[in-house]
Assembly symmetry: D2
């Protein structure tokens, strides 16, 4: 039986990337592709690479009784959208915005009385499999926490110094001076130094694994990179454990998680670009530990992970429709 899917906000980057996955997913029937701004137009007029794959059109209406709806709207807009529209109780919702990620006083945000589960399969697979509503993690948040969760689980996480670099698609398709090709090509810039909004959800996840009152500190400097897709993160912390112990701890933690892979060789960003993978590598000199991680910000960092969550929610193999050819070059 095919899963009937609706996509809200489908003219943006994460919406488009989700459509690229959905058109080839063997268990999915796209019910509607909603966009206020593009209503009536062919989706090819916006996502031109889908030429020859589909001739669906954007709709202004949408069906509230599909099996699952993906919210690919901007931050703040998901909450506003759900405040305005009542979906059927049986319709699952996967929200790619940050609106429902953070607990308030220890309680997950709810919709129609039902809580949102934070949709990081490596952390919450069981809860996701039973969830009605998913808050899909942020891109930087995914790359940073996947590199730290095993340490949190082992209770040995304290202060972390983190630098990450992101492709231009992380900033969405709005036209800004920092998204202008002439500016961004061959350029690097720090932004939101020590104040990036994703750290809150990283800390929340780490605390879930740390247990109790422990409050890890993540000092994060994000950089704008001169590429379109991907996130690469290097983090530093101190530990007495040996490199072998650390690597082993990570391998055990991610044993049942096919997309998160611990590499003993040096990783590089393009290993994972255009895939749903997260590659992790650990290095150690003296007591100083460096942990590198890499994801595709639009896939494992957004639409790929959203689809992985859908697969888990509907009892499918989580890899369905996500065994993607890396572009590699």
């Amino acid at each position: 039986m095919m899963i009937k899917v609706g996509v809200i906000g489908s003219a943006g980057y994460t919406g488009g990337e989700l459509l690229r996955l959905l058109v080839h997913h063997p268990d999915v029937k796209i019910d509607y592709v909603h966009s206020k701004s593009q209503e009536g137009k062919s989706i090819i007029s916006v996502h031109s690479d889908l030429i020859g794959d589909t001739d669906i059109k954007f709709t202004g209406d949408f069906n509230k009784t599909v099996d699952v709806v993906f919210l690919c709207v901007g931050h703040g807009e998901a909450k506003a959208f759900l405040a305005e529209h009542s979906f059927d109780k049986n319709t699952k919702i996967i929200d790619l915005s940050q609106d429902y990620r953070l607990k308030v006083n220890g309680n997950a945000p709810t919709y129609q009385g039902v809580p949102f589960v934070y949709g990081l399969p490596e952390l919450n697979k069981d809860e996701i499999s039973k969830a009605q509503y998913i808050a899909n993690p942020g891109c930087f948040a995914t790359a940073i926490q996947l590199a730290l969760l095993p340490l949190a689980k082992a209770g040995i996480l304290n202060k972390v110094y983190t630098t990450g670099i992101t492709g231009s698609t992380g900033a969405g398709q709005s036209l800004q001076s920092s998204s202008h090709f002439s500016w961004r090509a061959n350029n690097i810039q720090a932004y939101k130094t020590l104040t990036h909004q994703h750290i809150a959800e990283v800390v929340q996840s780490l605390q879930q694994e740390l247990g109790g009152e422990k409050q890890p500190k993540i000092n994060f400097i994000p950089w704008r990179g001169d590429f379109t897709r991907g996130i690469f993160v290097s983090q530093q912390l101190e530990s007495d454990l040996s490199l072998e112990e650390l690597t082993n701890m990570y391998e055990v933690y991610y044993k049942e998680h096919p997309f998160t892979i611990v590499s003993k060789s040096p990783i590089h960003l393009k290993q994972v670009v255009n895939t749903n993978k997260c590659a992790i590598q650990i290095e150690k000199v003296g007591n100083e530990v460096a942990i590198h991680s890499a994801i595709d910000n639009l896939l494992k960092g957004a639409s790929g992970q959203a689809l992985q969550n859908m697969n888990i929610m509907f009892g499918l193999d989580e890899r369905t429709g996500l065994q993607l050819k890396a572009s590699n070059f």
Copy 2:
């Protein structure tokens, strides 16, 4: 039943790209991955993006009785390889080099007495479906001829002025000064001006459609582009036909060919990068016609088309394993 596949020369770019496709092909079992230079190593040590997908190792030996073998070796090396090794009569061979593409005195080159078929499905699908041996087309040759074949079929092709630009993977992975990042980044250069070796196979295909003695003239200037994947070609010629007549002629010609798509909107390279598609667009001002075409040089221009040929040879839907998510960004 699974198709048993062997790959010769699997440490190079086209070999790697083929492996990326084969590991996810539902009807394929990879029998061996041959590389003299990398024998005994994991294929991940070379094609690092396959981490988590497979743990196959390169072999120095190979099995001569697989269902199909792909030759991903350099130009000249395929012929030398087949001269040295006798494959089983039932083993199909798909050669990605240029060694068997050109007829000599009107006769296709042979191996063990059986002729090679030129593996452009849009031109020779029936012959491919019955072929034992395939000469897979060149990358520039694919992009150029797909943009001209309908005109040849209509008998109206004469002199063509062609400029094309190719990504760095078109030149293979050998280290050359023109493949150095410091040189190639943000750079453009013409090379092999009016002497590119692919024109011979383009002319051969055009003559097949033109029939008789007509000798089309293709004046081709290739450029090195500052990107890794893809080929974009613009060609100029004169015609009395209207834009509508031309576009319609192309749509009819490619009606049964799912990967070659005639676009009425402006095309761009990234529409097809990381897919097996060829996008074509025609423009006309006065009597002057411009035809743009775009492919991914490693897919429709090499390994993707090779797999498309395998699908046709084994009676599968030609799209099997080739419905790829475009990277688009």
Copy 3:
């Protein structure tokens, strides 16, 4: 004695590039830097690379009695600006827009009754040295005509097939979907096929050299390139002259022009990026001639050539302030 300079429209790309040159020009004193949109702000707030070089501020007013004023405004805006403002009769004007480039019925456009001279030093150096007003050539126009003028001079120019590629700065700093980094990175697209507005000024210059009624035909397809600076053009035509005769003809034509250089080795774009040079190379196979040319679109294609014109108008060595270190990498 220092030349007092004013710049109108100095917040844009060509204005900024001109300021980068002017701050180091030994014979120039910048009198004002005009920008309606940025009035009162430091020019560093827009042209951040000038940090440490100057602390000039944008003004909303301007002085009509400077020695020379550069108009770095958009197409159409130069004419509107001059219609509204009367500069002193002794103030020279160099207009970087296309507003005054084309003759009407054989007559150059005028301002306050004085004609504009088309500011291509390789074509009109004498006229420029005596001119009051200069219409600075377009970027593609510069690269295309410098590659054809010697043929026109020899009277042997007929039909030309031209493909050119331009960096993103050629489209200015306005935010458009085709200037978004996510779109343009690693991408190629044709635009304004056979209809580019610069061809008119190319034909005008070629006719000036051809003399009489000859009407050369330039079939030009421009491409958007995935780099920021530079133009590379390849042109095809037929000729009976030998490569040696052609190369010699070009060397003679450009003997007195230090920035236009005929290369016998293959040229590439980065040879000239961040310089005021134009590199030209000729190749020949049979009767078919290919001529490649490369410039930096913001320098020889805009602000550098404008300054070269200023130097000539004020009797300076035309290279003054223009002996720039190529970035090369």
Copy 4:
């Protein structure tokens, strides 16, 4: 009077960049351009962007009595070269390799009994002005220490977490898999994690300012970036000083140093690319300080700084020949 200059190892990246500067330096006469590998060839055959600027040829011999010789050879090769050749006692030497940067037991390395001075003008301008031999700093070392020296001077430097990204020219022109365009384009990778050789010279400089026995700890993770020119570094440390106090401390420290500029606005890499500048910006949240710095690795990080040292050694304004137009885009 013109300074007679010789360049050893002039076919490499730093040699080429130095030549680009020397050909336009008003007080320099290039005496010879030495390269064993390219002897007899025109320098344009290697540094093709110098076309039209010079027709010097590489020589295999060299003159030991020039005023100054630049050693642009690889690490280890400078020491070997000077062991083999005796330059005149009056010939100044500027070595761009790392061979003479580090003191041994507190003593600077010597040549012919005369010590090398570490050529960072912001740290040692007086010593440089009197020096016979200069050890020119490393590229990463320059960017890292310029961002930390004021803190060391104030005696408040302890442990620093540093991430830096470098362009491909930092790795030289040798062909390696990580310098292949197909690999490096759109890619990011960490390398030499916590073990980069430049940290030793950074620590040596910081100790010079800290005085006494203090041993600062720099935890440095370098990344390979997907651009050709430039280094961007972000460093984290703790401090009780306010942002204003810190910024003021830096401005005071660099008051007499025209190339090192403290910015109160966000800096970005292309602000300094193709210039000899170092841009520094400080940010602070709570007690956590982030310091960003950016240089061009071939200029302030190598050949530009070498020429700045020459200017100081010969009593010229240190900016002579170094007031370069930023490429900016």
